[in-house]
């Protein structure tokens, strides 16, 4: 008997020997966000919705964004499209996502053009099938466009023309994307009119305001008049990262504490998502079949 055969067997079982099993999550399931002030879990339905996350640096914006991206990464039918001018906030998901845009506004605009084309094609497809929106078991999956520090693309990088183009493209995706399963989650520190156009800001249905430095900043995220009614994220303790006001179902801000993923947790979840996506051919980087191969 050859000695090499016996030596090779236990050393490298490898990913090819094991069959990856997906997490079984779906973007049609509500995302676990955290707990409210009564200790009850808060679930946020993200399908057909968009969320705007605001708050001062260190208020837990990126943590909340990572929770949403993490949920989407474990959904076999969701493609991830991550834009992060800071690179490290969403960078841990780079292997699991389809497009990762760093501090490159031209790449960001190209990516948004791609998403817009997909959106148009999907609407044409739906119209041909005499339907108005997609469902859970559709031919194609959903796309999560997560943008951390939206101000970098819309107010800092490039010149005024590219910034306006970026804002216009994003506004179009937010405005028209919901019925074809294109979800936008955007985070920025203070979404005032000089950072993102108010026409874009007011399209976001769900709002999360982490701690803000003033009542006005809180009102800019949540909507005018909430601070006067006592809902000001200025009152949140600055050391209480992840606590803030969430406007979701019900329309009244609720004080919630967002769940926290440590970097180790993110890497584990991202590695698992990458592994399952590679095997099911979800990732476009492997030139495999479309998203529904997982189902």
């Amino acid at each position: 008997m050859d000695l090499t055969d016996t030596l090779e067997l236990p050393t490298n079982p490898g990913p090819s020997d094991t069959v990856p099993v997906g997490a079984g999550l779906s973007i049609f399931d509500p995302v676990f966000l955290g707990i409210d002030e009564f200790g009850q879990p808060v679930y946020l339905p993200m399908i057909y919705r968009n969320i705007l996350i605001g708050g001062e640096p260190g208020s837990g914006k990126s943590s909340l964004l990572n929770t949403i991206v993490g949920h989407a990464a474990l959904c076999a039918d969701v493609r991830l499209c991550l834009l992060d001018g800071k690179q490290v906030e969403l960078g841990l998901w780079e292997d699991a996502c389809d497009v990762f845009v760093g501090p490159d506004i031209h790449h960001a605009i190209r990516t948004l053009y791609r998403v817009q084309t997909v959106m148009d094609n999907r609407y044409t497809f739906l119209k041909a099938r005499r339907r108005r929106k997609i469902g859970p078991d559709d031919l194609f999956g959903q796309i999560l466009v997560a943008c951390d520090e939206i101000a970098y693309f819309s107010a800092t990088a490039g010149d005024e023309k590219t910034q306006k183009l970026f804002a216009a493209l994003l506004r179009d995706i937010v405005a028209r994307g919901r019925a074809v399963g294109i979800i936008v989650a955007a985070a920025t520190q203070r979404p005032s009119s000089d950072i993102i156009p108010t026409s874009l800001r007011d399209l976001f249905a769900w709002r999360f305001a982490g701690r803000c430095t003033t009542d006005v900043s809180s009102d800019i995220v949540l909507g005018h008049g909430w601070a006067a009614r006592g809902f000001s994220s200025n009152t949140v303790d600055p050391n209480n990262h992840g606590a803030g006001y969430l406007i979701a179902e019900g329309g009244i801000p609720a004080l919630v504490k967002a769940a926290y993923l440590t970097d180790t947790d993110i890497i584990r979840v991202a590695d698992y998502a990458t592994w399952t996506r590679r095997h099911t051919g979800t990732l476009t980087t492997d030139n495999a079949s479309p998203a529904r191969a997982a189902a």
Partner: protein, 310 residues
């Protein structure tokens, strides 16, 4: 508030119109209301009673009996309305009065039935055991806060929340402890609206008066605009870190994912390694536009910028 030497039991004097417990306009309004109620009750009850009594008695006797009954009932209603400002105070403090009576009578009964050492022991146990057990103590304290908050809110409504012309205050309904503080339901009387409570700085004043961190008011019912919920926050229930359940979906035995991106050499990570280069400014820099509305140009002291809401 001037003290009068000749006090009536219900708080006002008949001679000078001076007021001791209740303010003069409110007292006059109550007396006017009481007189009206007396006549209306007397007439309606008297007529009804006379009609009924006429079936059993001679009609004249029945009419007289009806009038007498009506006057008596009218007098009772008159007395109730005139005494209402004082009765209301008793009603507001009813839990405390009942509690005080229970403590006094309980103590007396205990002292009479048991020797002193045993009474003291029982009192020590009844007070000490709940005070020593954390959850019980916190529960008792939260209910005590509910009582306190109702009084504080009543004070606020009387002091600085606008009331209607009759001086009737919002009805304070149920108060319930929450993990963050208390939640009180309030029924607004005609002449008030949620907007009055939300007016500039009112909720902050409420928070100060309730010895709380913050106070929020919102509608409590989609059906009735008068039903309002007041949330009083005095604790931070969200101080602990919430761990995301997402890693629980990941099985224990997954292969580690080698990084696909090539390792980046540590170059340009410090200031001396980045050369000082001239900045190229684009030639067609936009001209600074003249603001269309010069009034918005001046920064308001509160940091409010109307263009944020444009």
């Amino acid at each position: 508030m001037r003290k009068s030497s000749s006090r009536s039991p219900f708080g006002w004097s008949n001679h000078n119109g001076t007021v001791t417990v209740i303010e003069a306009p409110i007292a006059r309004s109550y007396r006017r209301r009481a007189v009206i109620a007396f006549w209306v009750t007397s007439a309606v009850v008297g007529l009804l009673a006379a009609t009924v009594a006429s079936h059993y008695l001679h009609p004249i006797l029945g009419a007289l009996a009806g009038v007498a009954f009506g006057v008596v009932l009218g007098a009772v209603v008159f007395a109730l309305i005139v005494a209402w400002p004082v009765l209301r105070v008793f009603w507001h403090w009813l839990p405390e009065i009942l509690l005080g009576l229970a403590v006094v009578y309980g103590w007396v009964a205990l002292m009479q039935s048991t020797p002193l050492w045993l009474s003291l022991l029982i009192v020590a146990l009844v007070v000490g055991v709940p005070a020593a057990i954390g959850p019980v103590r916190r529960r008792v304290m939260s209910w005590a806060w509910c009582l306190i908050v109702r009084h504080r809110l009543r004070l606020c409504f009387a002091a600085f929340i606008a009331t209607n012309r009759h001086g009737s205050l919002p009805l304070i309904l149920l108060a319930r402890p929450t993990p963050a503080g208390e939640r009180v339901w309030v029924w607004l009387r005609p002449g008030l609206s949620l907007r009055d409570l939300e007016a500039d700085g009112q909720v902050q004043k409420l928070a100060v008066a309730c010895w709380a961190n913050e106070v929020r008011v919102m509608r409590a019912s989609r059906k009735y605009a008068a039903l309002v919920r007041v949330d009083i926050t005095r604790r931070e229930p969200l101080a602990h870190t919430i761990v995301s359940p997402l890693p629980d979906y990941v099985p224990a035995d997954i292969p580690s994912n080698a990084p696909t991106s090539p390792g980046m050499p540590p170059v340009g990570l410090d200031l001396p390694e980045v050369p000082d280069q001239p900045v190229t400014v684009p030639a067609d820099a936009p001209r600074p536009r003249k603001p269309r509305n010069p009034t918005t140009d001046t920064a308001s002291p509160s940091g409010f910028d109307p263009s944020d809401y444009a």
